[in-house]
């Protein structure tokens, strides 16, 4: 096994330093609060809070960002369970049985089991990370430009075909992201591309502004539509202690779905939404009482919660070992990490092993902290949820502007921010998935560089595709990922025609 116990332990010692524990707590709490806001998810939480990490030491910044991320995952489940308003795809499944439990007056128990399931799922995933990350990084070390180019291509096509909705729209969204990434001075030849003689454009479009614009400004504008529709309901939270019976029901679903979620999280393009949906349907099929699902079955809440938190940890593997984010949210984290001057990839494990392991160990601490926060402080969190969105949305907008200003100290970026906010709003209205665009704009430049380097190395495009066993496998995977939705559609039609 390629586990560096020494680094894991050293990382743990760094992670339990008071300052780092403080960042975990702050990040987890802030993430929970933003994630709890109806309609806002982890991507927004990370995007809005990026500026907080400026001026911080990279390790602490990484710890803080990760804490914001999984904090927002916990928070997202709160709003799914209590208000039936999931903030993003990965929290949708939690609403299926979580909200019915709330309606039955079992909100407290629902929150407790969701927190416990998340913790156990997260712990499984952290163990998985410790075992898998090092070998994967060692494997990725052998990647040349051709492998990287095809890996990017596969990730993009996977995120398009797996994102809910229309594949054509996903590919358009991806193309726009790639187009935006080509603006600016070409790194290899110094040629100005699509800069229209505007000096600000020569450095390219800052992807963090695009991220904040789409995920913060666009989301707030989008949520304006439901602003007056959010009803104030007084909810009985009920007892937070779960019964022995409930624990017996949810124990195995939690344990089964942790590893499932983790493995899905490791796949590029999949992530929490797919993991939690898959876990939900699996448990429903395994259950002796599938008719109870959707009516407040506790195992129907425990399973997706365990799996989506495991997926969120698993998603760090491709991000850190190969520098390839698997989802919109991890793409945002990658953007922020690059801002800090780090280059995630196999070399990160060679050059900064202590940083990686500190991060992983801090996730361990963070998950435990969040469970304590979420169980003991249920009352306080419910009260935060009562804070009218009418007050919180303006605050998010202000944070978005502060964040943008701190990126480049230029007010001109405010206008770019607003333009992308409006684009984000239109995309949501027209059902264009956002994640392919975000992913594309972040990996676009690296993808182009590796494409051109591989063309030089292998003479022709066809040679790039068959350069090594890895490239051939990636080409096949890419084709499969594009065919996958058609295959599912065909299966569904056949099922319907039979029925």
């Amino acid at each position: 096994m390629g586990v560096d116990y020494q680094y894991v332990i050293e990382g743990f010692i760094t992670a339990i330093q008071p300052a780092n524990i403080l960042w975990v707590i702050i990040g987890g709490f802030l993430g929970t609060v933003v994630g709890m806001l109806p309609g806002l998810g982890p991507a927004t939480a990370v995007a809005v809070l990026i500026p907080v990490t400026f001026g911080m030491e990279p390790t602490s910044a990484l710890i803080l960002m990760a804490a914001i991320y999984y904090g927002a995952m916990y928070g997202g489940s709160r709003s799914s369970i209590l208000l039936n308003t999931p903030g993003d795809g990965s929290a949708i499944a939690a609403a299926f049985d979580g909200y019915p439990m709330t309606k039955k007056g079992q909100a407290g128990q629902a929150l407790t089991i969701s927190a416990i399931a998340s913790l156990i799922g997260g712990l499984f995933a952290i163990i998985g990370f410790i075992i898998l990350a090092k070998p994967l990084a060692a494997f990725a070390l052998k990647f040349g430009p051709a492998e990287y180019f095809l890996l990017f291509l596969f990730t993009l096509s996977a995120i398009v075909s797996l994102s809910i909705g229309n594949m054509v729209k996903g590919f358009i969204s991806m193309s726009i992201g790639l187009i935006l990434s080509t603006v600016g001075v070409d790194l290899q030849s110094g040629v100005h591309r699509f800069t229209f003689n505007i000096p600000q454009l020569s450095e390219g479009i800052d992807f963090l502004i695009v991220i904040i614009g789409i995920y913060a400004v666009g989301e707030v504008f989008y949520n304006y539509m439901s602003l007056d529709r959010i009803k104030k309901e007084k909810k009985k939270v009920g007892t937070k202690w779960i019964t022995k019976e409930q624990w017996k029901q949810s124990k195995w679903p939690i344990i089964r779905n942790g590893p499932i979620g983790f493995l899905i999280g490791v796949l590029p393009g999949a992530g929490g939404s797919i993991a939690s949906m898959l876990s939900y349907t699996t448990e429903k099929q395994l259950s002796k009482h599938p008719e109870k699902f959707g009516k407040g079955a506790i195992e129907g809440l425990a399973a997706p919660e365990s799996s989506n938190n495991a997926a969120s940890v698993g998603a760090f593997i491709p991000l850190l070992t190969m520098g390839v984010p698997g989802s919109g949210t991890t793409a945002v984290i990658l953007g922020a990490v690059v801002m800090l001057g780090l280059k995630p990839g196999p070399l990160l494990f060679e050059n900064n092993p202590e940083m990686v392991w500190t991060l992983v160990d801090s996730m361990f601490i963070g998950n435990i902290f969040l469970v304590i926060l979420n169980i003991l402080l249920v009352g306080l969190l419910v009260r935060i949820l009562d804070t009218p969105p009418k007050i919180l949305y303006p605050l998010i907008l202000v944070l978005a502007f502060i964040g943008t200003y701190t990126l480049s100290y230029s007010v001109i970026d405010f206008y770019i921010l607003v333009i992308f906010g409006v684009i984000g709003l239109m995309m949501k209205l027209l059902n264009f998935p956002v994640a392919p665009l975000i992913l594309a704009i972040i990996v676009g430049s690296d993808m182009e560089q590796s494409f051109r380097k591989s063309l030089v190395a292998h003479d022709s495009f066809v040679n790039v595709l068959v350069a090594s066993p890895v490239t051939i496998a990636l080409v096949i995977l890419t084709i499969l990922s594009i065919c996958y939705p058609f295959f599912i559609g065909w299966l569904r039609r056949r099922k319907q025609s039979r029925a």
């Binding site: 500026p51 907080v52 400026f54 001026g55 911080m56 229309n166 054509v168 729209k169 590919f171 358009i172 193309s175 726009i176 790639l178 187009i179 080509t182 070409d186 290899q188 030849s189 110094g190 040629v191 100005h192 591309r193 699509f194 504008f221 304006y224 539509m225 602003l227 007056d228 009218p388 009418k390 007050i391 949305y393 303006p394 605050l395 907008l397 202000v398 944070l399 502007f401 502060i402 200003y405 701190t406 100290y409 007010v411 405010f414 206008y415 607003v418 709003l425 209205l429 027209l430 059902n431 993808m447 182009e448 494409f451 051109r452 063309l455 030089v456």
Partner: protein, 147 residues
Amino acid sequence: MLRLITPIIFIIFGGIYLILTFNMTRAKIGDPNAPLYFPALIGIFLVIISIVYFVQEWKQRKETVEEVKQLFKGRTPFLIIASLVLIFIYSFLFERIGFLYSTILFLTGLLFVVNGRKQWIKNILIAVIFSFVAWYSFAELLDVSLP
């Protein structure tokens, strides 16, 4: 027919992008065409996929776009336009009167628009406290310089 506008916009956008790509200055070192390969591929891909999108929308051109209609319901258009106006004023004032004052004004304005006029005391209090806390934590604690 409104449905067809978006795909047409994308086709035109892709077309313009391709024209710009082929008119780009060539590289002086190495392969002169190297900077255009990648953009050209994306441009061609965007145009093709947008044509597919056009065909898809053409098949259901008589159906209305429900999602976009929501945008014009109730207070939403007012909220968005008012926010945009406030943002422009904010951008104009930001460096002129400084972060603290402009943010207090911006946030008060936003809260009046979004939260309503009835809770004006609350709005002003939140705006002042939040702006001050933000200014203090960024400028003093995090060493981010704000105007």
